[in-house]
């Protein structure tokens, strides 16, 4: 790396003059280099990506994005609430709008396969060979924030495929059960309506699909990621996703933790975390927790109410020892506790 940089610096100095001649001397070349390289990808990806409009539920937006995966109207998108209504519609790049039939869903990968009654000659052919690897430019095409309607083109954002990884860290406060491989990308795709959008290379080849929003309740941050193309291909072919197998295997660690504690329910989410009951044989019983204890900290985090307790509980990993501190009468008591798997 060091050698590499040294060489860069040398080139830097030499090339200041050279660059000037290249980029001032030939405007058309400069324009191509500076502005042209993404146009191809944009032109290829736009007609293969669709807008989806449906019913919104509460504060969850009633729109999304999808990618066309066959010439006869098959579309893959995220498994969003906007698919649940009766009036879900898909709007193609040319502004034509069609009603949607949901063919299949995958609760694991949070994918849905849709079908519209239209011929769709522009579509992504799904394959198993990755079109990009880490460090490559990728372009995300989506209808984040519903900036486009009818025939208006979708948003295009640029990023880099950061890496392919398993979501081992995602357990911290998220409710996503999927833990298979994903692509992390460094452009912001975690926006309302972006899920289902296409992630393509600079040549317009499909890399993956923008996944449903994954948000940490603990840090209030969101993941920018894509579901790899090969998983989409398997979903389209009707094969079960990898992670379904993973999560049913004995080694799967995606089960939520359980301590066997029931808190006093005083109504409201901000009630103090007083222990009402401790289930017989549970982790809490073994640790020595009793009724009427007030939980003060769990796993090093301050618990000021029952909501705090629930969110910290969600981050615990079954079988992994942690510490709970309770107030009992006038003293603080500290216990080691080993969470069980929730049944």
């Amino acid at each position: 790396m060091r050698h590499h940089l040294k060489r860069s610096i040398a080139h830097w100095i030499i090339l200041v003059a050279l660059a000037a001649t290249i980029f001032v001397g030939d405007d058309s070349l400069a324009d191509e280099r500076l502005n042209g390289f993404l146009k191809k990808a944009v032109d290829i990806a736009q007609p293969k990506t669709v807008k989806i409009f449906g019913a919104s539920v509460g504060r969850v937006e009633g729109y999304g994005t999808g990618i066309i995966v066959s010439n006869d109207g098959h579309i893959i998108t995220g498994n969003g609430v906007y698919l649940n209504g009766y009036s879900t519609r898909v709007t193609l790049n040319n502004g034509e709008t069609y009603p949607v039939k949901v063919i299949r869903r995958d609760s694991n990968l949070q994918l849905a396969l849709l079908k519209i009654d239209a011929s769709t000659p522009d579509f992504f052919e799904l394959g198993e060979t990755p079109a990009a690897e880490k460090g490559d430019w990728v372009i995300a095409v989506s209808n984040a924030f519903k900036v486009a309607e009818r025939a208006e083109p979708l948003s295009v954002t640029l990023g880099i495929l950061s890496l392919e990884t398993k979501m081992t860290a995602k357990r911290r406060g998220t409710e996503v059960i999927y833990d298979g491989p994903l692509y992390l990308i460094d452009c912001i795709t975690s926006n309302p309506g972006a899920a289902g959008g296409a992630v393509v290379t600079a040549d317009g080849e499909l890399v993956g699909m923008i996944g449903k929003l994954i948000e940490s309740k603990e840090t209030n941050t969101r993941m920018n990621y894509a579901v790899p193309e090969k998983l989409l291909a398997r979903f389209l072919a009707g094969k079960p996703s990898e992670s379904t197998q993973a999560s049913t295997s004995p080694k799967g660690n995606s089960k939520p933790a359980d301590l066997g504690i029931t808190l006093f329910s005083l109504g409201g989410r901000k009630s103090p975390a007083f222990v009402d009951r401790v289930r017989r044989g549970s982790a809490a019983k073994k640790a020595g927790i009793r009724s009427d204890d007030l939980i003060v900290t769990l796993a090093g985090q301050t618990i000021s109410n029952s909501t705090d307790y629930k969110s910290v509980l969600a981050t615990l990993i079954p079988g992994e020892k942690t510490v709970i501190v309770v107030k009992r009468r006038n003293s603080l008591e500290r216990f080691d506790i080993v969470p069980d798997e929730k049944k």
Binding site: A19, F23, L34, G135, R150, L154, V156, N191, A202
Partner: protein
């Protein structure tokens, strides 16, 4: 970590330039490295070229701030309305040289979120040209510059690079016809609070937009990858009105349209006595064209009209129920701001006790009051005539510079123009010889359809000599209404120290369109409240600032008896620029009546006083 980041950039760039090469595990060849570094250097060069023109804008009262960009060496700065609405009518602006300069509010447009302020203290501020935002394409690189999170300590702006994510976007306003982003540019360049008012540059270093907002919905006020910039072409339409120190309203046809079966049809009128109704539009008529763009959807029409100011002369084509196609030019009416007058708020009382406000709080209160005054002035009126006249001087000095390469080139000389006169269908109908002295005197000898006449301006008075030798002194009003005089005086008087002063006090009347291009409209007012209008286009066909005489008329719409004159086909003749073609026109649509086209333009040494005096016998035409 830094190495890793550089590695990512290098890999990414490699991917662009050699799209087939997979970076991982492969050595970067010298050839590839050259290209990578060349691309990087080009980017650095583009940043260097423009970074000096970016302004960090602060109010006088501590807290907050925004960004702006200088577009004229006199220190005129484009920014957002919401930046000045927060900062007040004056404050401090920092540029990359590390210096802070005082600024004053010039004009503001709450409807489109644009404002102009002027930095004071230099006449050679670094500035950047405005590009043509119609040429911006999705996928173009887009550099945003500004002062996000009021980050800078040394006034150097922050640069964030991204791509254009969408064009022709519409972002609805904040209510009361305010802060509407029509036909705007969407980017994934990081736009954060404090970036507001800062420029969006293309890789040629041209301003293509002013960054004003992002999709911050339910995400906290930080970048989420969707930022919006007001297009440079919209800015061009508003610059003259803003420099005239107006509170600018946006234009409307007072008619509502809707998509019906693939057509865009008129659905309702907002008022009685709507001008476009007088021009023949009825409910159910189909809108075909607006400002030269074929209309395919109502959204598109809304997008286009939201970029135009009040009184803009819009070109509208519509189809009547009986199939008749109507082509009209109509001045847009203002879309009033339904705003509550911002109230100056005294500092909150604490604990029920009335506290004496600190000097800081007093100043803040005073500034709020001044801003409230600006925002409650009557829209479309000149708020500060003194500042307007200063800006007008900037405009006329640009116009003057567009005539001559240097004043010395023309000083003590006479410009001699031999014209042929052509009818509207370009048939020759006569000739004329024009002599203009470098101090603005002139003589015009016309032979048109067999009849000769002469006009002379001797520096004090206008004279007319008919074919029979009869000499008549013309009043200034009469002179303004004579297009043969207008075609020369609008040019010749620009050579003077105070152009058009013979007709009265000059000011910027506002924005307008002339020769299909956004223009300044200047106006003189004399003691009798008579007026004369001169138009100047703001930009050349490349979008570079080039304020140039474009039209002159005694009538606002050139629809009176005299019509007006358009100046075109500028050519260089030994260091002077002269409009080889002068079109005599009438009406808002500039219908051609006749033209004067130069066969020969010469610069002759010396000024013959006799030529510019009427009492002598007529001299022989060349």
């Amino acid at each position: 970590m830094r190495n890793f980041f550089q590695f990512l950039i290098v890999m990414g760039l490699l991917q662009i330039l050699t799209s087939q090469v997979r970076g991982q595990g492969k050595e970067v060849s010298d050839e590839e490295m050259k290209l990578i570094l060349a691309a990087e250097n080009a980017r650095i060069a583009a940043v260097d070229k423009v970074i000096g023109s970016v302004v960090a804008i602060y109010g006088d009262v501590r807290g907050g701030g925004g960004s702006g960009v200088i577009f004229d060496p006199s220190g005129l700065v484009l920014t957002n309305h919401h930046v000045v609405a927060g900062a007040g009518v004056s404050g401090w602006g920092g540029i990359a040289d590390g210096n802070l300069y005082r600024w004053q509010l010039v004009g503001t447009d709450p409807g489109g979120d644009v404002a102009i302020i002027r930095l004071i203290g230099r006449d050679d501020f670094p500035f950047s040209p405005l590009g043509n935002s119609d040429e911006v394409r999705v996928g173009d690189w887009a550099m945003a510059m500004g002062n996000p999170f009021v980050l800078t300590e040394d006034q150097k702006p922050t640069v964030t690079l991204g791509i254009v994510s969408g064009v022709e976007r519409y972002q609805p306003g904040a209510g009361g016809n305010q802060l509407v982003y029509g036909n705007c540019i969407q980017v994934d360049s990081s736009i954060n609070p404090g970036n507001s008012g800062g420029p969006l540059f293309n890789m040629q270093g041209e301003i293509v937009g002013i960054n004003g907002r992002g999709s911050f919905l339910a995400r906290g006020r930080v970048n989420v990858g969707l930022g919006y910039a007001i297009s440079s072409n919209q800015l061009k339409n508003f610059i003259p009105d803003l420099m005239a120190t107006k509170l600018v309203e946006h234009g409307t046809l007072d008619a509502r349209f809707a998509n019906r079966g693939g057509k865009v049809v008129c659905e309702a009128f907002y008022n009685e006595g709507v001008e476009i109704v007088n021009q023949g539009l009825e409910l159910g008529d189909e809108l075909l064209e607006f400002e030269g763009y074929p209309i395919t959807s109502n959204d598109q029409f809304t997008n286009l009209i939201s970029t135009l100011p009040e009184t803009w002369p819009a070109h509208v084509v519509f189809k009547k129920a009986d199939g008749e196609i109507k082509d009209v030019n109509i001045r847009l009416v203002g879309l009033p701001y339904k705003m509550k007058p911002p109230r100056a708020r005294p500092p909150a009382k604490k604990g029920g006790k009335k506290k004496e406000p600190t000097p800081e709080q007093k100043r803040a209160l005073e500034k709020q009051k001044m801003m409230a005054k600006v925002l409650t002035t009557k829209a479309g009126t000149i708020r500060d005539l003194k500042m307007n006249r200063e800006n007008c001087k900037i405009v006329t000095s640009h116009m003057n510079r567009s005539l001559v390469s240097s004043l010395n080139a023309v000083s003590g000389k006479t410009i001699v123009i031999n014209d042929k006169i052509l009818s509207a269908d370009q048939a020759p109908i006569g000739t004329q010889v024009i002599r203009i002295s470098s101090d603005g005197r002139f003589r015009i000898q016309i032979t048109e359809e067999g009849i000769s006449k002469e006009f002379v301006f001797d520096g004090t008075d206008f004279w007319k000599q008919a074919e029979n030798g009869e000499i008549q002194k013309l009043t200034f009003l009469r002179a303004r209404l004579t297009p043969e005089i207008v075609q020369v005086v609008a040019y010749a008087d620009l050579l003077k120290e105070s152009p058009y002063a013979i007709f009265g006090d000059l000011q910027i009347d506002g924005g307008d369109k002339s020769q299909n291009s956004p223009s300044f409209r200047l106006k003189t007012i004399d003691a009798k409240s008579d007026w004369f209008y001169v138009w100047a286009t703001i930009f050349d066909e490349n979008g570079d600032l080039d304020i140039r005489l474009s039209k002159a008329s005694a009538d606002l719409n050139a629809d009176g008896t005299s019509g007006g004159v358009c100046f075109t086909d500028w050519n260089d003749h030994q260091g002077i620029h002269f409009p080889n073609r002068r079109d005599f026109i009438a009406g808002l649509n500039e219908t051609l009546i006749k033209s004067a086209v130069a066969d020969r333009v010469e610069l002759v040494d010396g000024i013959d006083a006799d030529v510019f005096t009427i009492a002598k016998t007529p001299i022989e035409g060349k």
